[in-house]
């Protein structure tokens, strides 16, 4: 795989930024600083980054309730996101949406989404627009192992094939939908095969390995971009936290979390892979770590100091214009 030095450094920085954003969000939620329901992406960073490194701001993504990682990977402003989690009027969505609704349309981020499988049909619409306009863009939707069981997801996959649009369906199997294991909720033995049954190719990846995801996503995106219709990525991954912050995680096996953090960490895997290769050094990665920590600190300070919304703002932005001008 031919990744330039810059690309490698950038991919690592993105993954590290997501990791530290999430770990800090976790700490701040435990401190009572962030309200609402927050679902952390820690552990799955390589999936978002491995996919989004193939996209530019013209391509779109649509995310899920576990959306911070996808949004950061697609270029969302980290400080604006932190302000949004804080519910500030300066947040990326003016404090109206919070964690579950981070969006930045200009950057092709069509939103995190609080409705499981709310995203895939919308992504098909973005792909349809790309097909009609013949502009070579692709539309990526992220789904979980639970989300793929929703009718809207099935409908979107079939419609994408029928219309032969450049939609890419990324399925992140972290083995759980809330407290239920995939072995219960997905009735067949082979989710990849089930997905391919819709009539598009699905490329498999190790979701703890940036290079593996980058490779699989590259094939899927290339397939869609070249006018061959939709494609999929199926990645096995693990989330290092509970479903939501505060989840007692009764479903885990003993030692499962320790094992995940030890053996399925995309940052460790990345370092091991590039170590000694002579392209990027451990010191360079350490320097990125320090810069990321500083950025996250800055984001939290900015969020703490940011303007709070006022009551009049409740009814702003419901419409562009309501009634006669």
């Amino acid at each position: 795989m031919n990744l330039s030095r810059d690309q490698l450094l950038r991919a690592y920085r993105q993954m590290k930024t997501i990791r530290e954003f999430e770990e800090r969000a976790h700490a701040e939620i435990m401190n009572g600083q962030i309200a609402g329901f927050t679902h952390l992406y820690t552990g799955q960073e390589a999936n978002a980054v491995g996919v989004c490194e193939h996209l530019d701001h013209q391509d779109t993504i649509i995310s899920t309730h576990r959306g911070h990682g996808h949004c950061i990977a697609k270029g969302a402003d980290v400080i604006g996101m932190m302000k949004e989690l804080w519910g500030s009027a300066e947040g990326l969505c003016k404090g109206k949406g919070g964690s579950m609704h981070v969006a930045d349309i200009e950057k092709g981020i069509l939103g995190a989404n609080g409705i499981v499988a709310g995203g895939p049909p919308i992504s098909v619409g973005s792909a349809l627009a790309a097909k009609i306009r013949k502009n070579g863009r692709v539309a990526v939707s992220f789904s979980g192992d639970g989300s793929v069981n929703q009718g809207t997801c099935f409908e979107a996959m079939n419609l994408a094939v029928v219309l032969k649009v450049p939609a890419v369906f990324v399925i992140e199997n972290n083995y759980y939908s809330e407290h239920t294991n995939i072995s219960y909720a997905v009735g067949c033995d082979d989710l990849k095969a089930r997905t391919e049954g819709f009539g598009f190719p699905v490329f498999v990846a190790d979701g703890a390995d940036f290079f593996s995801v980058y490779d699989a996503a590259g094939k899927a995106i290339e397939h869609a971009r070249s006018g061959n219709g939709p494609a999929g990525v199926f990645a096995e991954t693990g989330r290092f936290h509970g479903h939501f912050v505060g989840d007692p995680q009764y479903y885990r096996a003993d030692g499962e979390l320790d094992d995940l953090r030890e053996n399925s960490c995309c940052l460790k895997n990345f370092r091991a892979r590039v170590d000694g290769g002579g392209v990027v050094s451990a010191e360079e990665l350490d320097a990125i770590d320090a810069e990321v920590m500083a950025l996250i600190d800055e984001a939290v300070s900015a969020a703490r100091a940011a303007a709070r919304p006022t009551a009049e703002q409740v009814t702003e932005d419901v419409y562009i214009q309501y009634g006669s001008a």
């Binding site: 309200a35 579950m100 609704h101 989404n113 909720a185 009764y250 096996a253 009551a311």
Partner: protein, 335 residues
């Protein structure tokens, strides 16, 4: 009498109904929890709000059924099982998810009996956690019961306290029509006295939470406590109010509301949903239509504004009607 939270009261009702009647079963996402999981602790979760806690252990996998994330299929399965004689109680976690399964509720379950010429029964109950108060933003905070009230064929229940919740749920399960049961999630931890034994509360019979002479206040769900607090605070000013909690919006106890308005001549209606085509407008119209002669002041509605629910805590606090807003409005109709 023992005090119980609304969560525990509903849970107790489910345990008792399932023990009493083999045709009652519970179905939904994580109502047991941990199915297929390596820990083997199936049943440990009992619903994301803990309302179905212990049912799996007590009644097993055939009667406490976890599903994939498939709301249309959950409601449809409940409706179908009910159509052939079972009494399912389905859980749709957040009321907002009605958006995903609206057809099965509205076009299917709610219309069978009428479209089939009165020849069917569909004794299904669908439970939802509704309403705001958690900074859960636009897709996890809606009441939805005001929308569902407009569909003939569905009964709509909105308990405002643990005692009512138990009695109304037992009635819902025994009821032969489809019932939508909305549990204001802000009230799950609120406790009051709840008898251990089974009892039912009839649908279409309002509760008088306060009795007074000057103003009739009608409030639903989460707003009942706030309206009571507003009314209690106004006592010092020599103002007394009837506070009516209809408990079911379909059927609606119109007589209770009209009789009270006849006596007080003033009406304030409180709900946390947006105002258009909602319960406050519905009840205001009822008074305008049937008690206009008795009114001494314009009817006032206290509701959320015509906007989705915002995330930010400050914005949400401004969005959901508070005690102050209810007090001010009661004073307005007396001015």
């Amino acid at each position: 009498m023992p005090e119980k939270t609304m969560r525990d009261a509903i849970n107790e009702a489910l345990h008792q109904a399932m023990a009493e009647d083999d045709s009652v079963f519970v179905i939904g996402e994580d109502v047991a929890g941990c199915n297929g999981s390596p820990s083997g602790k199936v049943g440990e979760v009992g619903g994301v709000f803990g309302v179905t806690s212990g049912l799996y252990k007590a009644f097993g996998p055939d009667r406490c059924i976890d599903t994939p994330i498939s709301e249309s299929a959950i409601v449809g399965a409940a409706a179908g099982a009910a159509l052939v004689g079972m009494r399912p109680v389905a859980e749709i976690m957040f009321a907002d998810f009605i958006g995903v399964c609206m057809d099965q509720i509205v076009n299917q379950m709610g219309k069978f009996r009428y479209m089939f010429g009165g020849k069917s029964r569909c004794p299904a109950v669908i439970r939802f956690a509704s309403g705001g108060g958690f900074s859960a933003a636009g897709q996890h905070s809606q009441s939805m019961y005001q929308v569902m009230t407009s569909f003939p064929g569905l009964k709509v229940v909105i308990p405002s306290n643990a005692y009512d919740a138990k009695g109304l749920l037992l009635q819902a399960i025994r009821d032969d029509d489809p019932v939508l049961f909305f549990e204001p999630k802000a009230l799950y931890q609120e406790a009051c006295e709840v008898p251990d034994e089974m009892y039912t509360l009839p649908f279409g019979e309002a509760a008088f939470v306060r009795e007074g002479d000057d103003v009739t206040v009608v409030a639903f769900g989460q707003m009942v406590n706030r309206a009571a607090a507003a009314i209690d605070a106004l006592e010092a000013d020599g103002i007394s109010c009837d506070l009516i909690d209809p408990r079911t919006s379909s059927p609606l106890d119109e007589d209770a509301i009209l009789e009270s308005v006849e006596a007080t001549g003033r009406l304030v209606v409180v709900d946390e949903s947006p105002p258009r085509c909602g319960l406050t407008a519905d009840i205001a119209a009822l008074a305008a239509d049937r008690a206009f002669h008795a009114l001494k002041a314009p009817v006032k509605q206290v509701s959320a504004p015509h906007s989705p629910t915002p995330f930010s805590p400050e914005l949400e606090a401004a969005y959901i009607p508070d005690v102050e807003k209810i007090k001010t409005t009661i004073k307005e109709v007396l001015a």
